[in-house]
Symmetry: C2
Subunit: 350 residues, 2 copies
């Protein structure tokens, strides 16, 4: 299986403007990841037509023909039964050991459902989680869960902390990531019982995690922590609130500039600032939500991203593949029995 | 008691730079609210010294001496036993019927605890909530609960919808506010069982509420709804995430301008834009978190606000006092038996 070490499987048909964006994304990502090979699943004729534009691609890309495509409106319960879609086949390549990670820009629910069914949760891990890198004022941090689990037990949260710690080490290259639980206050009594127990469990794992306690949402952007842990409902709320607020503020800036006579006169001075802001806030840089905790990495690219955005998703996946992320989780989870730890803590409390 | 109709009770000693900010805030708010009278509780000498700066104040302000002050580090369990603080006395004035609302810029936990103890929850209302007005691209909306109740039942959420509806009518002057439940998706199956049941209850209240279903956090800033309902944990997470993200984006803008040679040359053109942005995003405009559902209105001003910010909190309280907000809640809640409705819905589900 050493052959599969640095192979990423790609659903070439997922997302808008596929397979063009996908192939172009691979072309861009190759520059930073010359060691990675790709297997593309999709309509052979269409994929090959795109591949022909970049002669070097055939050296590290294989195309496997698939006859069907998962559509955006397809339900997870349907797609898990259709083995002929490009998405199913791409994920199955990871299950078979032919690739270490799968990337798709297609239907999120379908990707999660097929990934969970085929790749299965890592032994001793209770629940997979969705995570992504988000920006703060001094760089980036890892945030999870972002929606895979609406409700989470203390064990789930403690596991997310362990997985998030590995993610921050591998994707953000932070040696000793500061881990925090998302909460509505720094005081010990704030928040739910699950959060309190998770805090105790994370402290007691013997994994020497750099746990810094609770973080409030407004502190995320201050860069107080490198790993933000929450249940999927709360994480999803926070992520979408960030998205909305960033849009609100930049919309405000746009309308202010549009309605200002001074701005019109001073446009040559303003444009470099607008460009720099756009570059810094570029959502493409944060593309690639990772579905982690499974025997293989499943990455969801934004369906509407362009080739540069797609290449960022590949970059992140490549980092994790290169460092054998899944095996690292297995190794670390093996050293900590969260079920037992949970019993100890329940015993402490009552 | 008709005398108390338009009286607001003020904790003159709460917050930074009190009682100066408080007295100046009243001076500013008076222009828009000539019908409102104020009772100020605090150190008589200090308050009178500030009052002396504005000769007209004595016409609509009364000062009542108090010997003690609630400090920021005081615990709720302590402050509810000390009847001599300016905060306690100011809240007690509402209980006695001498005022309709109380405003304080002091310790939040203390204000909530004393308010709840003295004013008590309105009959048939199960839980009070914290709410505030937040900005969206076309105006403002009401959001509640922001932290009074970490966990909420469907009944609590339905009540918040009823109260939020009244708040939006009275403070934002929206005739038929669009009410939405904060959730992580628009689909019926998304979110918790409490949210699903609350949706059913709000539809079935016979109050003819303009309920538009679920709202996702990124849609808040788009102005999709006028009343955003959630449990206190989720609401607090969303509010603090907005705060953090707005700060992140404006910090990014600042650093971009600071590091740009073009910006330095074009500063005269940029300044009007920066000023307009500052004005539009001014947090003072949204000052005044309201603690609602009690027999009297309790308003928390930000402790660090200035006199203009304090005057905004008074403005909002005055609007609610003028329209007899508490009585409106009593009237509307009387028409809907949420406990019975809850039973009906449980029966539907199982």
């Amino acid at each position: 299986m050493s052959d599969s070490n640095l192979v990423i499987s790609v659903d070439a048909m997922g997302g808008d403007n596929s397979p063009r964006i996908v192939v172009e994304g691979i072309h861009i990502a190759h520059k930073n990841n010359p060691d990675i090979k790709f297997v593309l699943f999709g309509d052979e004729a269409k994929v090959n037509a795109e591949m022909a534009k970049f002669s070097e691609l055939k050296n590290f890309c294989t195309v496997i023909h698939s006859t069907e495509v998962v559509r955006n409106e397809d339900k997870p319960s349907q797609v898990i039964r259709n083995k002929n879609t490009s998405m199913y086949m791409a994920i199955d390549a990871v299950r078979k050991g032919d690739a270490r990670a799968i990337i798709s820009a297609g239907n999120t629910g379908a990707l999660m459902a097929i990934s969970k069914m085929l790749l299965k949760t890592i032994q001793r891990v209770h629940r997979p989680a969705i995570c992504t890198n988000i920006p703060h004022k001094d760089g980036m941090c890892v945030m999870l869960d972002l929606g895979a689990n609406t409700e989470c037990s203390a064990i789930n949260l403690a596991e997310f902390a362990i997985i998030g710690n590995i993610l921050a080490r591998h994707t953000l290259e932070i040696e000793r990531p500061r881990i925090a639980l998302l909460n509505i206050g720094a005081e010990e009594m704030k928040g739910s019982e699950e959060i309190h127990q998770a805090a105790k469990m994370i402290k007691n794992t013997h994994l020497d995690l750099n746990f810094i306690g609770y973080i409030e949402p407004h502190q995320i952007s201050e860069g107080y922590a490198d790993v933000i842990v929450s249940d999927g409902f709360t994480g999803n709320i926070a992520l979408k609130t960030m998205e909305g607020t960033a849009k609100l503020v930049s919309g405000l800036l746009k309308s202010t500039i549009k309605n200002s006579v001074w701005a019109k006169i001073g446009l040559p001075f303003l444009l470099p600032i607008i460009w720099t802001m756009k570059k810094k806030m570029d959502p493409r840089k944060y593309n690639g939500a990772m579905f982690v905790g499974l025997n293989g990495l499943s990455v969801k690219s934004h369906g509407g991203t362009d080739s540069l955005g797609y290449s960022y998703a590949i970059d992140n996946a490549a980092k994790l593949v290169r460092q054998d992320f899944v095996q690292t989780i297995r190794d670390e989870v093996e050293h900590v029995d969260l079920d037992e730890l949970s019993q100890d803590i329940l015993y402490d409390v009552y």
